[in-house]
């Protein structure tokens, strides 16, 4: 069936429509800025904002080693601007309680044997228990804690000497899903793909309605479906280009892992982008001007994608009605997918349920958009 439809599609018209759309994007500094510069800027800002945000985070230390070395390490922590000591001596018997009460954000445990391990160049493991309820903060604590330990080791060791293998075993409480210091990039990817696909398409269609070119186009013997397809093709490419740019930038700047399958990510990306494009088309069918399209797109896509997807706020802490709304936010499912693929190397077995949800959302959105896209003017 798809083939027979494709056979009837005026490929040449679609190609010209897509090409024309590309001209619009390339010649309009504003849309070019939204399309390329903004995602990169956001990755940059967000990445560094997260990293730089930590300042005097309260970290308690339980020191079983009690040597000059262990005290020096603690000193490194507290001398850095990132960490500070708790006001009073914490209760060692109940580390979880310390975090639950909010007396500290993290607890560093130094087993006995640090000094010996350093002397003999042996492996040694520090324990870091982190409150994960603010996952961006927790991620930063992990990263900076490693930084402190590394600088301690560098300063201690005369150059050329073999580094002892001191590692930190991170354990995150209250949010066991937190496994990496790179939580923001997946979320950013979900938001930017949504933005490019929904915001830009709704604006470009609204622009044709506003200026009257849509009316002109609809008097040509080209089907509205062809018009739509031609218009959205460049944005699909743009969305994927942006996605790739963000991933590369995040890799270079923040060393984000890519544990899973790229193909799987592209597959999910296509579903997600299709859903987002449908939202864009839907929005454009409701409005007459670019201004209103932009407003509506921000409210209908950006806002839920940022607030209700689990990007910033954890869904499990939300009131019930917001939880229910979050179930129709495609970004929520895409976020789980992309975090899973990038950070944990999750495959289709673990992401099956998200795939089903996203496919259902996409199908519903495409149907609504196709029904709503007007072939007449009013």
């Amino acid at each position: 069936m798809i083939l027979s439809v494709a056979g009837k599609m005026p490929m040449r018209s679609i190609r010209f429509l897509a090409l024309k759309e590309l001209y619009h994007i390339l010649r309009d500094p504003r849309s070019l800025a939204i399309a390329i510069a903004m995602p990169l800027l956001m990755t940059f800002l967000y990445g560094y904002a997260v990293s730089l945000d930590i300042n005097n985070v309260v970290i308690s230390v339980i020191d079983y080693d009690q040597t000059a070395e262990s005290r020096q390490l603690i000193d490194y922590y507290y001398r850095s601007t990132y960490f500070g000591p708790a006001d009073y001596e914490p209760d060692r018997s109940d580390p979880e309680g310390i975090l639950r009460r909010g007396d500290a954000i993290a607890i560093l445990t130094i087993k006995s044997g640090l000094a010996t391990a350093l002397e003999n160049g042996q492996e040694f493991e520090l324990g870091l228990l982190i409150d994960g309820s603010d996952n961006t903060l927790a991620a930063a604590v992990q990263g900076y804690s490693e930084g402190v330990v590394n600088s301690y080791l560098m300063d201690r060791m005369p150059p050329g000497m073999k580094m002892p293998g001191i590692s930190i075993s991170n354990q995150v409480l209250f949010n066991p899903d937190l496994e990496s210091s790179h939580f923001f990039v997946p979320g950013l990817l979900a938001i930017i793909l949504m933005m490019i696909s929904a915001l830009l398409t709704s604006i470009t269609i609204a622009r044709e309605k506003e200026t009257g070119t849509m009316e002109q186009l609809l008097t040509a013997p080209v089907s509205p479906m062809a018009i739509l397809i031609g218009k959205i093709i460049p944005y699909i490419f743009l969305a994927f280009l942006d996605g790739a740019l963000i991933l590369v930038l995040a890799r270079i700047l923040f060393d984000i892992p890519f544990a899973g399958s790229g193909l799987l990510l592209v597959g999910f990306g296509l579903i997600y982008v299709s859903a987002a494009l449908s939202i864009g088309i839907l929005i454009s069918s409701l409005v007459k001007t670019q201004q209103v399209a932009m407003m509506l797109a921000l409210i209908m896509t950006m806002l839920p994608s940022v607030m209700l997807s689990g990007f910033i706020f954890q869904i499990k802490n939300m009131p019930t009605f917001l939880k229910i709304i979050s179930d129709i936010v495609p970004a929520k499912f895409f976020l789980i997918v992309i975090r899973g693929i990038l950070l944990k190397g999750a495959g289709i077995q673990t992401l099956g349920i998200q795939a089903v949800y996203l496919l259902i959302l996409m199908t519903i959105l495409i149907i609504i958009a196709a029904l709503k896209f007007k072939t007449k003017v009013d």
Binding site: P10, E215, A220, K376
Partner: protein, 247 residues
């Protein structure tokens, strides 16, 4: 089948309870220049949109180029050219890019587009302007380009909705010369205008007022019948009479 270019009967378009077009009937002959007149908001654009398949009529029906406006709008689209009241070329594209694009939308192939662009560029004297972004062109040239775009696929009927709005008199006269040439070649021209001097260039006119046609005929016959000095005076008297009657 008859051979009128356009024939409509009791065509209506309602927006809610408002009757933008209220049971109008008219015929246009092939190769005729037919003027569609009326004050702002009379319903001219709405009527043209129904003829071009852009709006679904609320009542009545008719045919354009031999095809039913209710059922065969795809066929109609292949046979008509339309120049909307708004300037409808893409301002960020050059004239040539616009023509290439609309040519493809009308299903022409590369060779046809090239040939037609060349031909129309000569005919409408566009050569000097065709490779500039349309945004930078004076209104008169833009409208000529828009005309070229609507002529690419050699339509049998041309619908022009206030094609000369905001254009200076010299340009307007040139524009009408072009329309005359087209009509001589057999193209039917259905044109709306605000300018009374342009109404006089039409072979026949219809005057719309509040969704209805209140006057129709050949311009000079109408002047004689109503013993008016000119068309302008005739319209003013007529519309004033209507409004007094309505009050």
């Amino acid at each position: 089948m008859n051979n009128h270019a356009v024939e409509i009967n009791d065509l209506s378009c309602h927006f809610g309870s408002f009757k933008a077009v209220d049971r109008i009937s008219l015929t246009v002959e092939q190769g005729e220049i037919f003027g569609f007149l009326g004050a702002n908001g009379a319903g001219k654009t709405t009527a043209i949109r129904m003829l071009c398949g852009l709006l679904i009529p609320s009542g009545g029906g008719g045919q354009v180029a031999g095809f039913d406006i209710l059922k065969q709008s795809e066929e109609i689209k292949k046979n008509i050219g339309y120049m909307s009241q708004k300037f409808s070329l893409y301002p960020d594209l050059t004239g040539r890019e616009n023509l290439n694009f609309y040519g493809a939308a009308y299903g022409l192939d590369k060779k046809q587009i090239l040939a037609r662009t060349e031909e129309l560029s000569n005919r409408l004297q566009l050569a000097e302007f065709i490779d500039r972004p349309t945004l930078s062109l004076p209104v008169g040239w833009r409208q000529r380009l828009a005309l070229a775009a609507s002529l690419l696929h050699k339509p049998k009927i041309l619908f022009l909705d206030e094609p000369t709005g905001g254009v200076d008199p010299v340009f307007r006269r040139k524009f009408w010369q072009i329309l005359y040439q087209l009509a001589e070649e057999g193209v039917t021209i259905f044109v709306t205008t605000h300018y009374m001097d342009e109404a006089a260039y039409c072979q026949r006119i219809s005057v719309m007022h509040r969704g209805q046609i209140i006057l129709r005929g050949k311009p000079y016959d109408l002047i004689e019948q109503h013993r008016a000095a000119n068309l302008e005076e005739l319209f003013i008297d007529l519309i004033r009479g209507r409004e007094n009657a309505d009050a």
